[in-house]
Structure formats: structure tokens, C-alpha cells
Amino acid sequence: MNIAEYLKVLTKLYKDGCVETSEFQEMMVNKDVETALAVLGDVEITVRDGNECVALNEKAREVIEELTRGKT
């Protein structure tokens, strides 16, 4: 995959901010999320509305913002 494809894979995670555990795992099964994260950053567990969810970590968000600057 190239960078554009990595970004595409992580778009939902980036835009939604935080996804439920089961949803994140579904993404890992269906898409090459772990490969994209290996290149662009990592995820962390966080809490939204009192529920645990999975989000891109700060480094991953910074990398994606840098890569997409002027393109979105």
C-alpha cells in the first residue's frame, strides 16, 4: 500500500475520533488497519460519553494532518 491508501484505511478512525472496541476490531478484520497504523501511528483506549473506545493517538493524528494538509 502507499500513503494515500493508508490514509483511506484510517479515514473513518480519523473522522469519527473514537470508535467502539467491536467496531475497531471489525475494521481490523476487513481492512489492513494494522499495516496503516504501523506506518502512520498508533491507537489508544479513551473514553467518550462514559464508554471505552478506540482512537488514533496524538502522533497518528498529527501525521495524518500533516499528510493531508491542503488536500482536504
Binding site: V29, E34, T35, L37, V54
Partner: protein, 249 residues
């Protein structure tokens, strides 16, 4: 708190992990005779051997496994490789040799499912053949350096969240296919995560961490097992008999 599954480690009974490594054509076998009758043994060729190409399945390896299986329930890794072709060839060679074995009641093979999400469909034939030969077959999932794809390795120490989720989905998938799982080289954060989440389908794991993480190699059994106990923290190993009953269920 009692662990729902044991963590095998070097020479700390009752769950003992022994190594059989091939380095520059020379075989190095851990030789340890347990003192407890209820000890369970786990044999692995190690991460390094698998990473650099793997070790072929040999009669010598099977004899080594047999030596322990004659007295103890013995879990053993079918020599694995990060190279898919060699990995599959090894498994097929093992199946060929294993079909000539007599009593295999104490032998529990672990087939390591490298690149799990990508390859599991193609591994099913191997797993089903193993099930025809052995009463219990375990799927091995890596829990230290996660081999998620031929081009990606997740280092669990650096990416614990990603690693934990990967292990979880692989375990759930394997269980849905009728297989229980051994997590190879489990890290403490992953152990905590799996225990906290109460994930069903894992029956065993192993680690050699007490000698790693910047510590000098601990040569003495007593010292190693003390450090392993520290590593376990508040967890207690399950009783072998209770654990075996759950495995065969």
C-alpha cells in the same frame, strides 16, 4: 486472583516451558526433569529460530517431545517459520510423521497461525488434519512480536493497544472455528487486557520476559522463578488438574 489460563515459563513448575533451538545446524535442547507429577510441559523452538527461517520438523524433535509426553501432558509448537511456504511445508511434514505415532494422548500440538487474518482460511486444511490425529489441537497466536502480515510486525511493547485488539480478534475468530488458543510470548499488558476482558477461548500462554527487559540472564532456577512471580504480580497460576479439565471440555 487466579488466572483463567496458565503462563508457561522456563523451569517454574507446574507449567514449564522448554526450548528446542536450532542454531547454525546445531540443536540446543533444554533438558529439565520436573519434580512434580502434575507438571505440564510446553516446548517451543523460539521466536529467533522462527524469524530467521524456522527449523525443519525432524524425528529428533518428535523424540524430544515424546520424552516429556511419556510422563507429562506436553504442549508443543509445530516448528514454525515466518516464511509461509516453509511454515506450511513443516506442518505437512509433521502431519506425515505424526500419523505414524502410536499413543498421542499426552501430546497437544500448537500450530502457530502467522499472518492470522490473511491466512487462516488456507490453514484450515492443516488444522483439520491435525484434529484427526490429536485429541486437542491449539492455534498459536503470537503475543510479543505479532506477525499480522508478511510486511508488518506489531511490537506489542511499542503498540500495546493495537496488539491487544489484534490478539483478541484472532482468538475470537479461532474459537468461532472450533479451536482454542495458546498465546505465544505474552506481554504483561496483553495478559492484563485479556484477563480483564474475560476473553473466552485462550487456554494457555507463555513468556520468558523475566529474563528480558534489561535484566541479566537469570541462571539460577530459584532466582528466575522469584522474578517470574514478581512478573505475575497478583495473579496466581491455575491448578494443573482443574486447568486440564477445562482444556478437554
Amino acid at each position: 486472583m487466579k488466572l483463567p489460563f496458565p503462563v508457561f515459563t522456563r523451569i517454574c513448575e507446574p507449567f514449564v516451558r522448554l526450548g528446542y533451538e536450532v542454531k547454525d545446524g546445531h540443536v540446543k535442547r533444554d533438558m529439565y526433569e520436573p519434580t512434580r507429577n502434575d507438571t505440564v510441559v510446553m516446548i517451543d523452538i523460539g521466536l529467533r529460530t522462527a524469524k530467521i527461517g524456522g527449523a525443519p520438523v525432524t524425528i529428533d524433535y518428535i523424540k524430544y517431545v515424546r520424552h516429556y509426553a511419556n510422563r507429562y501432558v506436553t504442549l508443543f509448537v509445530i516448528p514454525d517459520s515466518w516464511c509461509t511456504k516453509m511454515h506450511v511445508d513443516n506442518a505437512m511434514q509433521f502431519i506425515k510423521l505424526a500419523s505414524k505415532l502410536g499413543n498421542v494422548d499426552n501430546m497437544v500440538p500448537i500450530f502457530v497461525a502467522h499472518y492470522y487474518l490473511l491466512k487462516i482460511e488456507s490453514y484450515m486444511e492443516i488444522l483439520e488434519k491435525l484434529q484427526e490425529l490429536f485429541p486437542i489441537v491449539l492455534v498459536g497466536i503470537t503475543g510479543n512480536l505479532v506477525t499480522s502480515s508478511p510486511s508488518t510486525v506489531i511490537k506489542c511493547a511499542r503498540r500495546p493497544t493495537l496488539c491487544n485488539h489484534y490478539v483478541e480478534i484472532a482468538v475470537k475468530d479461532a474459537y468461532s472455528r472450533g479451536f482454542k488458543v495458546h498465546v505465544l510470548g505474552i506481554t504483561k499488558p496483553t495478559l492484563n487486557y485479556l484477563v480483564k476482558r474475560g476473553i473466552y477461548g485462550i487456554v494457555s500462554s507463555d513468556t520468558d520476559k523475566p529474563r528480558g527487559s534489561g535484566r541479566p540472564r537469570l541462571a539460577h532456577r530459584r532466582e528466575y522463578c522469584r522474578v517470574f512471580k514478581e512478573w505475575l504480580g497478583d495473579y496466581e497460576q491455575p491448578e494443573p488438574e482443574e486447568w486440564l479439565n477445562e482444556v478437554v471440555e
